[in-house]
Symmetry: C2
Subunit: 178 residues, 2 copies
């Protein structure tokens, strides 16, 4: 259900995007908040089209497969606006590392510590990339209209990664002393 709205949200921000473009966005920075494989995206685009929420422009390219770019229809924009206004509960999430932690005493302490260190490194990596984007966004222009909202999602990404690193540090500190 929500994948549909995620696609509509992307198309609202930047129209005339192909399934391939969307798949890249879902795999990139935005992918920290919503993921979808290209297979899912192509299916969903076909479905959205049937419902009249997006329209497609087929661009033939000589020799190659034709490229299809999608844009919001007025109906699609309306449905999206309606969804944004509708209250929802905070999204549940699943974290396998926490399940592992819950039964961490069963495993080798060194292995658990190593796994937490690995995760910490990964989050540090993501954090530095997000901070870069944060700098870019603040330097280039004054935040207007739509940019402001995308800036706020970026802020959340940064906070989340900072939180992860802080937790990993706490775990490492506690597990290292016997």
């Amino acid at each position: 259900m929500s994948l549909a709205y995620a696609i509509l949200a992307f198309l609202a921000q930047e129209p005339a995007r192909s399934g391939y473009d969307l798949a890249k966005q879902f795999a990139g920075s935005v992918g920290r908040f919503w993921q979808a494989s290209h297979q899912q995206i192509y299916m969903e685009l076909a479905h959205l089209r049937e419902q009249g929420l997006v329209e497609v422009q087929v661009q033939p390219r000589d020799g190659q497969l034709e490229k299809k770019t999608y844009s919001l229809t007025p109906l699609g924009a309306e449905k999206l606006r309606e969804w944004i206004g509708r209250p929802i509960e905070p999204s549940p999430f699943k974290d396998a590392l926490m399940v592992k932690m819950y039964a961490g005493h069963l495993a080798d302490p060194g292995e658990v510590l190593a796994e937490v260190r690995r995760h910490r490194a990964r989050h540090i990596e993501w954090l530095s990339r997000l901070r870069e984007r944060n700098r870019d966004m603040l330097c280039n222009t004054k935040l207007e209209q739509g940019q402001m909202f995308r800036y706020l999602t970026l802020r959340r990404g940064i906070r989340l990664e900072e939180e992860w690193v802080a937790w990993c540090d706490e775990v490492i500190a506690l597990l290292q002393q016997p």
Copy 2:
């Protein structure tokens, strides 16, 4: 796949639990890190039993439906230990509020602000409950063996909710000034 391990992790901590007990745990505090409906749990327990990872003790109760309690088998414990030691990537997650934020400029500003305030209230609520459990855990006993690891998952829950509240505050501050 991971639901299986989540169930094994619960049974490792406290054996002889019924599907109903597990469903309650998944719906309760632990549910912030992993969710499963009772339907899913009953199915998965049957599957785990076929594989010989859990064993069941059927307790007849006069008049009522019999109660089935499940415990880990040695094979189940081994599989769980092996899974915990196997490195994984940080779990992806999906956050519908972030998708809404991304296209927030399309909606009524008042509605967006109200939604963020609602979410903030929810997270404050969860946070206070988690902090209570934190106090209980620290006061009652010195943390030993398995408790330590469950304490660390609780710490993560608290940090996450704090992060949520801080982000909501930032959003509210930024959206209130024109």
